[in-house]
Amino acid sequence: MLQSWLVILLSFGYIGLLFAIAWHADQRAGGARSLISHPMVYSLSLAVYATAWTFYGSVGRAAHDGVGFLPIYIGPTLMVLLGWFVLRKMIRVAKVARITSLADFVASRYGKSALVGALVTVIAVIGILPYISLQLKAVASSFQILLQYPEVVVPQKAASLPFLDVTAFYVAMFMALFAIAFGTRHLDVGERHEGLVAAIAFESLVKLVAFVAVGVYVTFVLYAGPGDIFGRAAAQPGLSRLMKPFAAEGALANWVWMTVLSMFAILFLPRQFQVAVIENVDERHVKTAVWAFPLYMLAINVFVLPIALGGLLAFPQGVDPDSFVLTLPMAHHSEAITLLVFVGGISAATGMVIVETVALSTMVCNHLVLPLVLRLRRDGRAISGDYTRFLLTVRRGAIVAILLLGYFYFVAAGEAYALVSIGLISFAAVAQLAPAFLLGLYWKGGTRNGAVAALATGFAIWLYTLLLPAFARSGWSGMQLVANGPFGIELLKPTALFGLAGLDPITHAMIWSMIGNLAAYLGVSLAGRPGAVELAQANLFVDVFRQAGERPPSWRSTTSAAALQSLLGRFLGEARAAELLRAYALARGHKSTQGLVPGADLLHFAELQLAGTIGAASAHAMVATVAQEEPLDIDQVMTIIDEASHVLAYSRELEDKQRELESATTSLKAANEQLKELDRLKDDFISTVTHELRTPLTSIRAFSEILHDNPDLDPADRQRFLALVIKESERLTRLINQVLDLAKLESGLAEWHTAELDLREIVCDAVSATSQIFKTRGVSIDAQLPDRTPRILADRDRVMQVMLNLLSNAVKFCAEGRGRVRVRLAEEPGALRVEVEDNGIGIDPEHQALIFEKFRQVGDTLTDKPAGTGLGLAICREIVARLGGRLWVRSRPGEGSVFSFTVPLRVAAAARPAPATAQDA
């Protein structure tokens, strides 16, 4: 009989050894001789996959349906062998983004979403509880069985429950202590757990040695080799079927789903993610794991079937096959092997529980508790106090709470299932993370909302089709519901949803939850568009191997280095924060942190450091509390848009905004230029008008004074001078009138007396009015008019003014005696056109646009300066524009010019400036 004190002493001795290894590894951590820098340690730590479920449960499962236990190990083997590139990508992403946990990974991918992080955490914690309860059950039972040594008395379910419960409770509490001691010893919570990894690798070794030892013992000592066992089993009808795969109905579907489930499990169980991704120190270790891990899986499974068959052959009914590994050596009084198996079992269970709870506690702390605390403190921007203690306390509390919940699950539902079935419920839960995780890693189109929908849908179906029936089966509640469906609706029966019956519960649950999960993910993702942060993160994740260096900083605000140091200090410790910032400053060529420029880079650095401890979502929120957001100016918006268009081709919305902004900027600039130009023109106009007014005034004054001072002036001179005074006075009057006229026209204050007019009549009148000047200068004029034209709506005096101006211009620039002017009136679509053609000096092409501007006379090169104010054509153009028409010139220097203008037929009425002033003359 083994004394219980001996068993307990052995257990604690073994745990002590683990501590020693962990302590030793921590001492050497980071150094060149770091224990975990060996790739084999990484491969062994992956074998934390093999838990008490493997250690005890595989044999149990094999005793029930033969090789049916295998898919659970084929899946991970396939994943590591063929899917190593996925693992490598996960590791790279986690390193670049400083991921702290499984939940952090998924939350980061979907725009650092706090909601996604919380959802993954809830799924992981609730999903893993059955799995943890499984470990408690296994260790408690093995302890119970061992205490009966050498009697093989398997604790009967109902009878021994209270006692087993008590044992399981102690086991749970001791495990919590181990986990706290291993996983949360240090204040710098964000660091890797090198000691823990070393201890886990050692445990993997121990459980393998123990299992192989008992395998060899059973196969070669109790029996004469595998041939002997299989031979005997084949002779028994009840056992021979175990050696044939796919014998049972639906076994193939079951195999496929088990394989898929366990493929996901090796990646998405929180503890697997912890050892495979978070604790990975070197990506190249994956290469070793590709062969070493499958080898481990093979080694630990080789003896499963022999032990199962050996147990079935050796024991009558009544011994739980889950305990064969322990009870077979016990029955043969092999004390050493028995104790070795017990230690192996403890190894398998503690390894799993410690890593799982450490990983889960990080997630609970960073994604459930911390966001809640941040939300409660939202009022005060400053987060005060030292948070390192707080974080550790939360994590330790979470470990105890998770183990307690695991214990309660064990009490509530654990007894009704074999070890393997309990574990598979957990596998099915974490498999719900697979679509959001894997598709998110390779497809940028997945959105935060898609992920939330997928996780929620998958998890809900899992709760309904697996967890609920599990509780019901334990006689808790809802048996009615499980048996008959809610409200007696058969189609909604949790174990045969929509009539899908005849499958085992796991396959059934997986089919529905994966359909729902995937449909929700793809549907919601494709229906919506990812936000800016989401897309940046999607790019980071999907294109992680294409990115050189770090992420582009996403901060556009500044804060002082001191404020950031104080923030970092609260979560990482004062000394560590100071050290980090000093290193950052040194790396940028500053002597101290004083020289640091507060800016996006610095904020980004601080966010990364915080992310390593409290996860990306919380880190982003924390840094935002100290970052002083600055209002964006146009330049910054342009820079942002520029950056955005470089990195992202996503944002149609942004591009639209950019276009709007650009066009707004352009039109503002143009308007501003136009105003400046108008202002300048006004100044020029006033200056020019002043000059033009002074010129006639100068002559008038000069001659007046001459006449005044010389009363005895020669009468001929006197007459000549008086004529000049009169002429210049007229010029002055004309100029003043035209300036006022133009000002009125331009301001829209001119009065228009609109009436129906016959344009032919006006043209004729204008020609006859100017005939005297033409005659004087010896210039011929002829008019070509159609028989009739449609009448127009216009102001007769204004049209006349234009005609007279054009005619006097034409005669002015014609050579005396040889000049010839032609006037034409013609109808064109929608308008009448008047042309005044001369054979005068013509206008240089470069001057053709200028002549319509005020005071631009292009007669300066002539010996005779043309008489005129320089306002005539400007006024004409203004009038024609008001009539809704157009005035332009075609000309060749030396050949003559053609001035044309149009008067529209339809819109002539609309061209009236204001109805109030529109009266018939």
Binding site: H691, R694, A702, E728, T861
Partner: protein, 124 residues
């Protein structure tokens, strides 16, 4: 020998008044209507005084003035600039271009005559 006055002005009526005033003083006059013509006749006419409008076609009054100041043989020529703009900057520009005097239009005929005489009196 009477003093020679060159009138460079593009407004015919102003030319007529200036011409009358200068002749009344007994000066010999020549009128040109643009800056180019003014420069062209300088060497031959060798004026003692130039009545120079600023806003001249072809070459401005300032250009003509600078030409005169740049020519050693015209060192004795006095320049009186007449401008219709009346901006304070015009006087400064006139001085800058080397003009001897400056008068804004419209001017008092007596003042013009007095200034012309003064400039020609200093000539010796």
């Amino acid at each position: 020998m009477s003093a020679r006055v060159l009138i460079a002005e593009d407004e015919p009526s102003i030319v007529a008044s200036l011409d009358f005033l200068m002749r009344q003083c007994g000066f010999e006059t020549l009128s040109v209507r643009d800056g180019g013509a003014a420069i062209a006749c300088l060497e031959e006419f060798r004026p003692d005084l130039v009545l120079l409008d600023v806003m001249l076609p072809v070459k401005s009054g300032f250009e003509v003035c600078r030409f005169i100041r740049g020519n050693e043989r015209l060192a004795a020529t006095r320049v009186l600039i007449l401008t219709a703009k009346g901006a304070p900057s015009d006087e400064a520009r006139s001085r800058g271009a080397g003009a001897d005097d400056y008068l804004a239009k419209p001017f008092a005929t007596r003042e013009l005559v007095a200034r012309a005489r003064a400039l020609l009196g200093r000539r010796t």
